[in-house]
Symmetry: D2
Subunit: 335 residues, 4 copies
Amino acid sequence: MLRIAVLGCGRIGAMHAANIASHRRTQLAAVQDINIAAAEAVAAATGARIMHSAADIFSSADVDAVLIATATDTHADLLEQAVAAGKPVLCEKPIDLSLARVNRCAEVIRGTSIPIQIGFVRRFDPGHKAVYDAVRAGEIGELHQVIITSRDPGLAPQAYLKVSGGILRDMTIHDFDMARFILGEEPTSVLAVGSRLVAPMLMESLGDHDTITVVMTTASGKQAIITNSREAAYGYDQRVEAFGSKGMAISKNRRPNHMSLSGKGFSDRAAPLLHFFIERYQEAFSAEIDAFVEAVEANRPAVVGFEDGRQALVLAEAAIRSMSEGRAIKVSEIS
Amino acid sequence: MLRIAVLGCGRIGAMHAANIASHRRTQLAAVQDINIAAAEAVAAATGARIMHSAADIFSSADVDAVLIATATDTHADLLEQAVAAGKPVLCEKPIDLSLARVNRCAEVIRGTSIPIQIGFVRRFDPGHKAVYDAVRAGEIGELHQVIITSRDPGLAPQAYLKVSGGILRDMTIHDFDMARFILGEEPTSVLAVGSRLVAPMLMESLGDHDTITVVMTTASGKQAIITNSREAAYGYDQRVEAFGSKGMAISKNRRPNHMSLSGKGFSDRAAPLLHFFIERYQEAFSAEIDAFVEAVEANRPAVVGFEDGRQALVLAEAAIRSMSEGRAIKVSEIS
Amino acid sequence: MLRIAVLGCGRIGAMHAANIASHRRTQLAAVQDINIAAAEAVAAATGARIMHSAADIFSSADVDAVLIATATDTHADLLEQAVAAGKPVLCEKPIDLSLARVNRCAEVIRGTSIPIQIGFVRRFDPGHKAVYDAVRAGEIGELHQVIITSRDPGLAPQAYLKVSGGILRDMTIHDFDMARFILGEEPTSVLAVGSRLVAPMLMESLGDHDTITVVMTTASGKQAIITNSREAAYGYDQRVEAFGSKGMAISKNRRPNHMSLSGKGFSDRAAPLLHFFIERYQEAFSAEIDAFVEAVEANRPAVVGFEDGRQALVLAEAAIRSMSEGRAIKVSEIS
Amino acid sequence: MLRIAVLGCGRIGAMHAANIASHRRTQLAAVQDINIAAAEAVAAATGARIMHSAADIFSSADVDAVLIATATDTHADLLEQAVAAGKPVLCEKPIDLSLARVNRCAEVIRGTSIPIQIGFVRRFDPGHKAVYDAVRAGEIGELHQVIITSRDPGLAPQAYLKVSGGILRDMTIHDFDMARFILGEEPTSVLAVGSRLVAPMLMESLGDHDTITVVMTTASGKQAIITNSREAAYGYDQRVEAFGSKGMAISKNRRPNHMSLSGKGFSDRAAPLLHFFIERYQEAFSAEIDAFVEAVEANRPAVVGFEDGRQALVLAEAAIRSMSEGRAIKVSEIS
């Protein structure tokens, strides 16, 4: 049993703590949060002990590995400390909102053999993974286009949006990673357009957008298209389509049940989509832990590591520049 | 071009007339109805000439074949006259409501080589036909169960119901034929239950039922299950499922368009099913004409002939007796 | 936390034990099996202690409730002992293969207020439950027909089949309960037909059938149709359809992922259905525990209790008699 | 009955001629082609008379209107002649491959009240039209994104590709019109990327692309995304999705039948998509004729007119320039 401590007991930290506590291959070694009440709530729910600082956790002999689910601006520091302490680390995305900071972090940890996994949980979704597997197995032939739809069920709170780093770094970051995952090649050129349609005035005040499209191409001409919206009335819209010379694979949306209703004036009406990431990616969050355990136990690199986190941010930066300059940005322009 | 005359210009006759008029392999030679206004309306819409009696049609050198779409109680007489006149005939179902009359008709036409086709149009539906083809091609292995759902969008007018012969002879007759078509074997035993749920008082007064289930078995143990209702709020529910040792084939419902809508509280809502048989079986009605033309031109038996019409009625009689006696009826008990 | 002991550590007992161990409202108090190795395997996987007899469990102050997952022929005895010991009990279906034994058990426990829940887990499936909810909420109007498809992915081992009590008591028993659940009325008449198509010689030797259809009607004329097969090449086929005056609700099949593939000659091909009950009814097994905990904590009758278990067996007996006599059996004939 | 003459008896002209001949509101007045054999084949199939020149047709008192289905480079000339002759005209897309020529044509016909309809047939597809209707009826609230997928089943012959004007003018032209149709606003900015993945060497030699993505935005920020491929192994992939503040509407793909097959290792496999435009847009081609008849009979502008044809070409030109310059092109830059 891998003894994992969770740093950060907000919504996603609490979920990870519960998953680790009930996972057959892990123990929840400890939880920690600067908000003591949050840590206590998670401790009460899971029976885990509370440790009062990250430093205590990193120095504890009873902690085999750590999961970082704190505020984004602490990720890089904690990740560096974890590596220094020799603790394998599963770090929530993004590593940092600043590419410069991520690059410095890369310098600090350069050469480490400590497993570092970044929380791109969607790679572990059974449907998205099945698209990946179909592509890799050649079931659609040569890959031509990847089309990713990702729409949140509702606008995040304004307080969160202010510190989110903007839709491209915060939300699209998952889709940049998904595109790289399915493409199996690095995008070399990025185009993006952004609109303010969900909450125009708020977005204007934040200098942010709520509706975006990104088009990326690789050196061989493969295309990846991402569409995002901050609000979808019918639930959390999460689809991945891969199109190739021999066919198409699509990972479809999921619902809380498989009941459909037909009545006067309509047929086959289904429940709205699973509301949000904790429900939608439930199996994926568990499989993400599995993958981390396997990397740690085998002492080998995580299947989705630090450089994946960095590359997704590079693509976000390219998209941000494209949106502002109205032109295709070469990824090599970003550093 | 096969010159076909249509006898009977009610709803289904008018449809057949229009189909024959626009069909690339047929001409509408004439139309006839004892209701002159009905004949005139069809003549006006199609440009066909009116003939004033069935006898005129049967004796006309300009008529190659006839389609009988008159009232059910005239089918057998007209069919006999058509055969006597040497005119190939496509006769709407049922041949007659009385098995005795059908049996006498069988005697009268015994030995004829004139092509006679019975209007079991559903055999020509692309989806149902694809199930048949999959079964015959062995795609589901050995056939075990056939499950047929057939629900009308709404109750027929009382005047029609009174002369319909009851749900089993009028509506289920199509499903008896579909079961035989898919099974590829004759049912030997029939069980049926009937309920009065759509219009209890009316059904009571008619001695009829509006909701029925029939279960048939063949000598080898294959099962066919039919469920019928006289009213389905969401449209004309028409499904055929075949289950076998290697898989399952299902012919699904059809809608007027393929648009689906998702919104607050629901997802993937589709249009109601195509309303009724003229819309739902549009391609089938055209393919039925094709099959008739082919049989006539090749002077060979129709793919769905007189004996098919008779056997469906035998099954209806067995079901009626089962419903009344509460026991499995052997088909050999019916004659 | 409700402390539940599990009696019986076979496949289903092991699954229940794991569920109880990881359930947020329960503790796995102990496990027991006459096969010590089985008990030890479950104890090792869950960390639970082993108790060496049912008697020890019933007398233990550290056990709040018991789950009976032993061989069917021990269910009734253990259930009686649990009630005598004042331990709430969740008992796997069927209570016994003999209606006489079940009736004696009913006498023994008559008047008890100890919560007794029978393991008709499918009532807790999100999809089937959503059909139930739609019916109860009037979304399909007055209920007319319930159509249940239940096909196992593959034939059970011959050793199991020999002691299973036959397909109607062993497999259809779930569907009898589902029919009663959705109908909301007791069936009064039962018709059944059985065939030997999956494994004809084996079924002949066992005096059993592998392919069955059951049709039941209630006093008000509602109909329930069940089709079963012991083998479905494409996975565990589990569907429930309810049809009424205002519409239709259907609980569709489930797959391990939502990916579909299109290629040369086909489109939209999905994964096979979830293989078997442990995967297919995963959420339901967890929700079943929830319901049991709620009944015990509130000290009120379970939502699916002893009499539900008995009535399902009564319907099985009626179906067995119908199959043998080829006639509709009134449920009142069975006792 | 509107008497329509068809100019051009290639594949699409032959189809139009057959549709007009069997349409209940039209007569096929004449057919014409410089390839006499082609005209004769269509005449034989439809019974129409052949006229030997466009001039004969334009001057004939027996011709009420004309349908232009000749080679693209003759469209504009014939359209001008038709208008000069006072004949309403339904002209296949594109009006011309040269925007300059289209602009000159616009000058020539300026001020005419003769109905001119451009053959953007997809507007009349029941599914795409249902998306349009849902958007206009406010069923998805404020429109945010339109996502159009259009993939041909297979690469057109090289001879055709050489004179096609390139994928954006030839194939995407339909999608530019669909985007304008659903958006209800003019795009003001266009981004495009193109790849050579289906037939890299051929495309290189033609200076063309086979895989493209176009992103357009309107002044209010609405986005339209088009993805195209010249080859899809599973058939003619035609989808339109509209996403808005209250929901999403999607027009799904169509198949020749609604049968699905489940077997060992898979479930719910459907037939490949309808192969190509004549089959896929069969109802739409008929509804297109309806709309033309209505415009002519009411002597009012066609629902999809000359300016729609011109605007689609403007967007194609903008996309071509964007692809070459790697930047967003303002539509106002094109003239």
